[in-house]
């Protein structure tokens, strides 16, 4: 997936979000929360795309799920992962939260993100947006908006690169 395909996918997701939020009240209840690291710029791009379509500003936050990971205290194989700030500068109570991540794989990150989000309040609903769904779920989790379904084998790894972090936009499948 190159930069052009990526921006088309995100634009399509922005349109789908607006189609499913017909009334002004639905639109008002929306909020985007990106999962660190690469979910955050993707969430901002979707917010910008929606602003470009109808001028509406959707509040956008950043969630670090490290402290909620289920493997954190299990494998003593290296130093602890770095924790970054969670910044959700709005109340999530009664909001429809659109959770954003780059790659959906086992589903464990999303499980952790759901636990983390619910510690911030009681949203009306939580939906999931991913740029790439590569399959191999280990938990009963499914995305509501998918940029691209990318069938992969377990031996492969999927690398999403974004201009904001990596200097360019691309999705690459690597044999490991």
């Amino acid at each position: 997936m190159d930069a052009g395909r990526m921006s088309k996918s995100l634009a399509r997701i922005a349109h789908e979000i607006l189609e499913r939020s017909a009334s002004p009240a639905d639109l008002e209840a929306l909020a985007l929360v990106g999962i660190r690291t690469r979910g955050v710029p993707i969430a901002r791009r979707i917010a910008a795309a929606i602003h470009g379509i109808n001028g509406h500003d959707i509040p956008t936050g950043a969630l670090d799920i490290t402290l909620y990971r289920d493997d954190l205290m299990r494998h003593a194989v290296g130093p602890q992962p770095l924790i970054r700030r969670t910044e959700i500068p709005f109340s999530i109570d009664d909001k429809r939260i659109l959770l954003v991540d780059d790659v959906l794989y086992t589903g464990r990150t999303i499980r952790a993100a759901l636990d983390a989000l619910i510690d911030f309040g009681r949203p009306k609903a939580i939906q999931l947006i991913v740029l790439v769904d590569r399959g191999h779920r280990e938990l009963p989790i499914k995305a509501d908006y998918v940029g691209k379904n990318l069938p992969t084998s377990l031996s492969q790894s999927v690398q999403v690169r974004l201009t904001e972090i990596d200097g360019r936009d691309e999705v690459e499948i690597q044999e490991s």
Binding site: Y68, A76, F120
Partner: protein, 305 residues
């Protein structure tokens, strides 16, 4: 990070910054409606305090609870000096119940190191005698960095009972490692011999120490550790070394005043300074929880580097 946090002396510059950066993220947890994350679920932390403590013990306990650890407090407040044997026995008994972390406060310098050699549990030094108090220095650095955006190049004046202070040693090690210009000041009877070897400037003149300082850090007069007369009277100490608004005025206009607590008002610090606009003393206490969460997180999971 190593297995234990025994002192600032064991930390590299990068490790110090790792703790401070992790604490930034931890502080946000304290501002949530539910101030708790599941990170240390199922981990047991024993707070073993051989000396009285309000701030440090409470701070560690809140930090542990915010990370969902099971906590146990053992307060062995006693006036007699505990022999090595006693500490070892207590430690071995606690160790037999397999806690994951032991937080130790002890009146003898080196007590945490002793425990570290004996225990498989991770050991955090919460103050050992006149040696080190690493989490205090880390929370002080966190507070300074928050106000000044940097530590390198700042003039920091540390004033008070330098001889008996573990806070002094940990702070000097940390601040000099990060490139601050540290001045220490106290009556000559309370200045440790050879303190300049730690890379600080020593003076007995408060005016000289605080001149153009970015940070003034007051140390408590530790009467409980004094066997003998180190200065003629409390009033004379206050007149010569006490921090007053007149002395604060010699520092930079954006100076911050710090104190590790507990304060002796009217001894080392005037009330109008302690409660005044330059004081960040209560912020230090608030930041202590975030810094201790960071230390617990970085030690309790993962492996040694």
């Amino acid at each position: 990070m190593k297995k234990d946090l025994l002192g600032i002396a064991d930390l590299s510059r990068d490790e110090i910054y790792l703790v401070l950066d992790t604490a930034e993220a931890m502080r946000e947890i304290g501002q949530r409606p539910i101030k708790k994350v599941p990170t240390m679920r199922g981990k047991t932390v024993v707070n073993l305090f051989y000396e009285p403590s309000t701030r440090t013990r409470t701070s560690f306990e809140i930090a542990e609870k915010r990370l969902s650890a099971d906590t146990l407090n053992i307060a062995v407040a006693t006036s007699s000096v505990l022999k090595g044997e006693t500490l070892v026995d207590t430690a071995m008994n606690i160790e037999a119940m397999a806690p994951d972390v032991i937080v130790l406060r002890h009146a003898s310098s080196g007590a945490a190191h002793l425990l570290s050699r004996l225990c498989r549990s991770r050991v955090i030094n919460a103050g050992d005698g006149m040696h080190e108090h690493p989490t205090q220095a880390l929370l002080d650095a966190f507070t300074i960095r928050e106000h000044k955006r940097r530590i390198e190049g700042l003039k920091v004046a540390i004033v008070g009972d330098l001889l008996h202070s573990r806070v002094l040693r940990s702070n000097v090690l940390l601040l000099t490692a990060l490139g601050a210009e540290v001045w220490v000041c106290g009556p000559s009877t309370l200045v440790p011999v050879g303190v300049e070897r730690l890379g600080v400037r020593a003076t007995t003149s408060v005016d000289e120490a605080v001149k153009d300082a970015d940070v003034i850090m007051m140390l408590r007069i530790q009467q409980e550790r004094m066997q003998g007369a180190f200065f003629p009277s409390v009033r004379e100490y206050f007149n010569t070394f006490g921090m007053t608004m007149a002395r604060v005025a010699r520092a930079r206009p954006d100076v911050i005043i710090m104190h590790p607590g507990p304060m002796n008002r009217g001894v080392e610090i005037a009330s109008d300074v302690a409660d005044g606009p330059f004081s960040v003393i209560l912020e230090q206490v608030a930041n202590g929880v975030a810094v201790r969460m960071a230390v617990l997180y970085l030690l309790a999971g993962g492996a040694e580097d």
